[in-house]
Amino acid sequence: MKKNDLYSKEEKLFQDKNKIYSAQSVKQIVYSTDVRDFGQVAKSIPCQDACPAKTNIPGYIRAVFEKRHGRAYELNRSANILPGVLGHICSRPCESACRHGEPDNGVSVGICHLKRSCSDLKSGSHRIIEGLYAPTEKKVAVIGSGPAGLAAAHDLSILGHKVVIFEGLEKPGGMLMYGIPEFRLPRDLLMLEIKNILRLGIQLKTNKAIGVDISLDLLKNEYDAVVVATGCVSPRKLNIAGEDLKNIYNGLDFMKAVNEGQKPLVGDKVIVIGAGFTAVDCARSAIRLGASDVSINIRKTIEYMRIDETEKYEAQFEGIKTVSLIQPSKIIGNGNKVIAVEFQRTRMEKTDTPPYRVSIPIENSQFLVPTDSVIAALGQTPDEAVVSKDLDGLDGVFAAGDFATGSSDVISAIAGGRKSARAIDEYLIGEKRKQTVVRLENHETTDRQRSYDFIGKVEMNTIDMEERLSKATNEVETGYNDDQAHEEAKRCYLCNLEYEIDPLICIYCSACIDVAPKDCIKMIESVPVNSDGTYGIYEETDDWNNVVSIAIDNARCIRCGQCLAVCPMDCISVTKTELIEIDT
């Protein structure tokens, strides 16, 4: 390794090395497009990297800590236009990546709960900030008002384009409105955040289904660009005998009916088939419809369910059983009414291609499970009846969200919507108007206290079983209060603060290693450089003769600040790193 590589960032920060010696003496901001900085940000801020929308998570959690909930809300909204909604129902890939949840570090920070907090706790007079561009006189049609459509519409509108949303159903929101049960997502919140988007001057036309009420060709002619964000609405079928009997629902239709206020007949005993969020939502809704014996039936094992631990726990809490390693083989009816499902046992097998572990039915292992109703929540595929999802954008028609990617989650759909908005803007204007850079700023403090590392996760407040059953729409989770949010925010390591030892000043006293809470400060021999230019895993050595530097491994560092406190040479700097969008 060239020695210069070690110092490149300092050089960027302090271009005049002769003048600037201590990291504390100067506040200078650098916008970097260096691939190494992007790599470093991705590696050392794992939550942000895991977020499809690249939300500035440490940034907004710090704002929650400071009780600047409005600021936190806006930081969220700059990446994801529905912060309150996502604060309720996000699939939380960030929490799985959170460094606080790594082995020996405890439990992940309640990132999603904090997102909800900034929405719940922001001032009543909070104002939304939008950086509006001048009108472009371009017109864009967005088909579908789900998360992807809303995100695309919002960003296009910001960029100065005139946007009209066409929604096939009566209300906007797509899956958010019709797929997710109200006990998880209050509808007034959803509508508020949708209205916040629409007020940019976006026109919403409901009950305008594409291919039914209006044709794609017409839109193509009338608009400069069209975004197809119709999501995934074609339910996967069980493809087994008896599927057309009465009291057999597909998950989406079932949820839609429930969300429209209907009370689908489920009876006492309900069999839900499927392993995702929808299956759990259906099961929990069935409980609220009066069913007493509800089971979720999955082909693989519980480990492979596509839901998070909270959902598993809540389902179990509400008395829902999970039966694993079975798959339905036949549905038995009496007349046209279902009376039982014939299941077949399965076992796990490996494959050489993704998903690597599959379930294989065991022959002649059938058995019957009596039931009053069946809900098949196997997920959905895009409805390609009107338009194929293989769009190249050349004729001004773009695909976004689940429609383009296949069934995913809300935060991915929002990210997808934004991404297509940028592509459409480039298509309409002929150049890139925004770019992402790494903002590096010298930071004077650690913003943390060691005691924060020992705070246990603040559990979400929930209502008890009686209240859950008394009204099906009663929201189960009730959010953090001000103090709880502040406390939980303390737990964030603030991984956006990068710690670095200046090897030119370091005297190798190893005082920092003595106080290190874990193996975060290392005596290194060399730092490999990856093919993309980012740094690899430090090569450590115990032999002083080979030590080229004492270095902080930001992927292990929990930002406790102990090293900073003991360093006799003041050679440890803290740099705040953020991904931001700037005009090109």
Binding site: R450, S451, D514, V515, A516, P517, D519, Q562
Partner: protein, 586 residues
Amino acid sequence: MKEFNIIIEICGSAGEGTISAGEILSRFMSGQGFEIMSFDSYPAEIRGFGKCVAHTRISTNRIYSPGKLADVLIALNDKHSISQLSALKENGLLIYDSQPPRPHKEDKSVVGWAKPGMISYGIPLNMLAHKAAGNARGMNMVALGAVAALLHVDQHGFTDSIKVRYGKKKQIVIDSNVNSFLEGYNWTEKNIKKIDPHSFKGMTPSKQKEKLIINGNQLVAQAALVANLSFYAGYPITPATKIMEILSRELPKHGGVLLQTEDEISAIGAVIGAGFGGKRAMTATSGPGFALMTEFTGLSVMAEVPAVIIDSQRAGPSTGMPTKTEQSDFNSAVSGGTGDCPRIVLAPTDTKSCYEATILALYLAEKYQTLVVVLLDFFLSNSIRNINIPEKPSSKYLDANIAPDKNDLKDYQRYKITKNGVSPRAIPGTPGGMFFSTGLEHDVYGRPNYSEAGHLEMTQKRFAKFNTVLSEAPAPEISAIDRDEFDIGIISWGSSAGAAHETVMSAQKEGINASSFSSMMVSPFPEKALIEFADKCKKILIPELNFSGQFASFATQILKRPVERLNFITGRPMASEDILQKMRDM
């Protein structure tokens, strides 16, 4: 009340607060009314990563020895504690750090080596220390908190002890230590389900008189001060340094003078000089320093100048093992040096008798105008006991010089032949009391005289002091068991005597009929008492901490019968378990 006896060891690396944790534990337990004995072992190197062990025995009954195997081992450092596991009882408790900052390689964690039967409790010591004070320094206090919770010790009393220990430090230091203790206590109480029987619950010994928590070195210094020491010269050496350190602070306050010389030869020279000048003077050293002093010791005897040498023995020869205890200077103390050189040697048997021996040494040296050697060892110097506050010596011990009267001064004979060998000694400056003083053989005036008769007469005079000095020594300690005959008699000396006495008690429980004998004065030796004792015993066992059985050889000459020897040079103090094992085999 039930008998209660527990040995707690804390093992860590130098600088981890191992020793101070042990000290706090001892102080607290003493304050609770328990008998305590603690003995720390630490590396010779001043600073570094060596192994430290703080060993504390706590009991409701009198403690004779530190005990060999611990009931509880607190492992502050995994590497060192793995080797220390061999000193943990088979059903002992191991308290270890369950969440160290860096992962262990395979087999580098102490708990991995705990034997089945031992009960290990993992406490996140490092993590809790960080939690309490933001760094790992309070690990020792966290560990004490964990132990206190596990053994049902009163936490408030304990925190008070910590506050006292750090009372002179900044408030933040006190708070950090107290918080670390409480963190360990509360975590353990909440998270550990105890399955071992050790408990202090219901163990509240009656509060006794105020006790002094002190080690042998401190007591020697204290005794020297009360015994009117006015001059100390010395050169520092482990394990005797502490004596000089204390005196350097305290002696000037008492009007005395402390001189740090360039080496031990110079030190003993200065001491003899001060003694010649009529001042009570002493030095303290260890084996290597004592060897350097040997030549000068002859002068003290020949010129009949009082001198006291404290020799705290350590493992030798040469520099040897500076921080390991041994009883291997017996021969050189009793018979080292040139010529027929009688001297008094006292070997205190426990912490308290270090005090008595020092006072006695200064008294005897002055009264008998000769050299007195006090044989301590690393263990006696450093082991800490809680003892009753020692009494002030009677005036007899404070001024013992037999001064010449008017008649004597008419024709002053400094080396006048007397029945008990002691001649009236004139302090330089006494009118009419002029005399010659030399290392050469001399006549009664001190003038050189090499005649056959003269040398014989003077040698006899010097040895004659031995005839009466024995009556000044405390009677030998014989474990008071009312029988006329014993299967085994243990004869011990110095710091091994406690273990020997303890062995007698445990041997009785096993049906072995035994008794033990020890004498603080080993030169001259109370031979008559020894023979009387040995005559009651079928077999004689002599345990001591040296390889060659120096005392056993010495005793054999007196007893003129074979004795069993038990010799250890492990660097650890004598353990009653080992003596008992030997007795079973006999």
